[in-house]
């Protein structure tokens, strides 16, 4: 029992150990500037990973979020130039939700494997982004509204707006998952779809909704990224799906669904971001960083298997 409790805490222990190791290796890690940097770097991917957690808890999988981030960012920027900030943001989030709805429909109604479904939308949505932008940033000339660009750099109570967004998202969605009938239905559906069905849960709707949330949150992340990059970039968001999935796994969620916590995904995100940040500070070549990140993902999955024995 104690051993089990200890194993549950592996992600936190890993993160603390990682921070301690980097802090010992370089005194540039624990500076306010660098820590702020880490938070901002983690902000966009945290929002994506939160959506991914929903899908994975429900027993699914979503590879399309990286493309959705780019799609939403470009849509938001484009609409914003014509119809204002609020409409632009709404359009970006709605575009993401639409991709999620398509994913959910294909997975539940056409019963296509989630991996294949979202592999397909990942490629197609990226194609759509290039079609609507012609491969150019949005807007091609001119700048996005001042207030929107400020959002990407300004702070509230000393913390970047970009960091407040995931904080609010995590608090609200954690509560939904843990404390509402809807949240418990997601866990049950991912844990045992037939048992959930035989308990009266509309499992198709639940699964579809997880993809819609995931798409909408990827859309929100796209909007955040556009404000940080000061434009909608058609090539943005690449590898976000892999980072997000890795964060969920690092947080100890079961890839077959039904087990995991949102706050642990956040810890998973920070393990990834701190690792990248630390290797940067230590001047490790970026190619080596990729190797390291890949190995960490495999180590997390292996730890997950050991835990289940």
């Amino acid at each position: 029992m104690n051993k089990q409790a200890l194993i549950e805490q592996i992600p936190v222990i890993t993160l603390i150990a990682l921070c301690a190791a980097i802090a010992l290796a370089t005194d540039r890690f624990l500076t306010p500037l660098n820590l702020t940097n880490v938070l901002v770097q983690a902000s966009v991917i945290t929002v994506v990973a939160a959506g991914m957690t929903f899908v994975i808890l429900g027993g699914g999988f979503d590879l399309s979020v990286g493309s959705t981030v780019a799609f939403s960012g470009c849509v938001a920027a484009g609409v914003m130039m014509k119809a204002g900030i609020a409409t632009g943001i709404a359009a970006g989030i709605a575009a993401g939700a639409l991709v999620g709805l398509v994913n959910g429909f294909v997975v539940t109604a056409l019963r296509v494997n989630p991996f294949i479904t979202t592999l397909g939308t990942m490629v197609s949505v990226r194609g759509v982004v290039f079609l609507i932008t012609g491969g150019e940033q949005v807007p091609v000339d001119g700048t996005l509204p001042r207030a929107f660009l400020d959002f990407g750099v300004e702070r509230l109570f000393g913390v970047h707006y970009l960091v407040w967004v995931p904080a609010v998202v995590i608090v609200i969605f954690s509560w939904v998952l843990a404390r509402t009938p809807y949240g418990r239905s997601i866990y049950a559906t991912g844990g045992n779809r037939e048992a959930a069905f035989l308990s009266g849960i509309r499992v198709e709707r639940i699964i579809t909704s997880t993809y819609v949330w995931c798409g909408a949150l990827a859309g929100l992340a796209g909007v955040m990224l556009a404000s940080r990059l000061q434009s909608g970039q058609p090539t943005s968001g690449e590898f976000y799906e892999l980072t997000a999935i890795a964060a969920v796994v690092l947080g100890g969620a079961a890839l077959h669904g039904g087990e995991g916590k949102l706050y642990k995904t956040v810890i998973g995100v920070f393990i990834m971001v701190v690792l990248g940040n630390g290797l940067n500070l230590l001047n490790v070549e970026s190619y080596w960083q990729r190797v390291a990140v890949g190995l960490v993902i495999i180590a997390a999955a292996a730890a997950d298997q050991l835990r289940r024995r």
Binding site: T180, P181, A195, I201
Partner: protein, 485 residues
Amino acid sequence: MIPLLAAENVSKRFYATPALSDVSLSLLPGEVHGLVGENGAGKSTLIKIFGGVYRPDSGRVLLNGREVELGSPAEALRAGIAEIPQELRLVPGLSVAENVMLGHLPARAGRIDWKRVQALAGEALARLHLALDLNAPASALSFAQRQSVAIARALSRNARILILDEPTAALKASEVRYLFQAVDRLKSQGVAILYVSHRLEEIGQIADRCTVIRDGRVVARYDRGGYGIHDLVLQMTGRQIDLEHLDTGMQPGEILLRDGIEARLDLREGSIVGLAGLLGSGASQLLRRLFGAESGARYALRGRELAPSHPSDAIRAGIGMVPNERMLGLVLAQSVRDNIILPNLERFSSGRLAGLNNAKIDRVVRGLIGALDIRPADPNAIMRSLSGGNQQKVALAKWLACEVDVLLLDEPTQGIDVAAKAQIHRLIREFAARGNGVLFASSELHEMMLLADSVLAMREDAIHARIDRGRGLTEKAVHDAMHGQ
């Protein structure tokens, strides 16, 4: 006669917990040796010692009278000991012949010799007097046939000792006969069989000797014909358990459920109706249809028309269902509490996106854990860690928390031990005695006789006869009606 395999004064502990204490048991050539005991009595530990998975802390294992050390399952297999587990480990997409020869496919010059595969597989199946299509994929076989393929695989490896672990748990009556014939043939060929089962009637039919273990010790050993089911139950539990039919003490009341398609199906308040049928008779499907898990049912519930297209329709109308496999009805990775509230989520909150009322949940869950004697009495215990009997109690508790009027139960006591079975039966009777109705399917005639006030015999997706208690309800009458005689 020298036993083919014997355990002599074997003991095994796991940390501080003794699993087996001083257990001796021998298997003679051509003998079927029954092994019974409640869950946790030590049956699996003994099987695993014979199978080379565990080593005994003390005592000896003898093969043909000589002491052996079985260090791994592979060594046990080489010694001629083969376990046929409940999950058969066949590869569905491969042919019958390939499944029989899996792991030791004969090769010539590095290539598989398919002619020999066919010949050897055919030979092994012939020892069971089975004529299966060697080229058919395993996925096309019935469960009983797949079981025979698993046995043939053991024979093709020259196994002389077979351990059958709950071989009939997934079989219906006609398939059991099929298995018994195979067992008889193996006996005549000198194979020794350790037969582990919860189904005590079967032990009486097939075992030459029977050993009962309780709390890791051998408490009784009987020869064929020298005991009855009552003796086994008494020894397994250490106490007398009532196996007679008990009336709910209720006069059947108003009609609760009347089927619009099946005229013979009506369920009154306070009554328990059994659906008796062989595999494929449609009893499970009928329950699933009534619950809305499959479409096509139309019936009246307390006079109100209902044609459920989703389980939530049936649940809202006051119906609950426990499916025939616990795997299907429970989320094993979640807690007892989470499972009990699953069909009741909206009952415990004011909306789908409103918070759950935890105080109310805790009160209801604790009440049910007490009332149903669920062990451990911990709402946060993970389902996976509970015994089969306690899991089944949780499956019932889900619906008691909803206060349903009608329970549909598919094989309510499959694979659970005698004491838990008696408790489940008591809970079912108490539920009916509160003026509710129970419709249950069971392939165990014995259970039919214990529980049912009326029995509906099913064949080919339809109810063919209705037999009421007091009007000719006997095991033979039900058996005949099920088989269309």
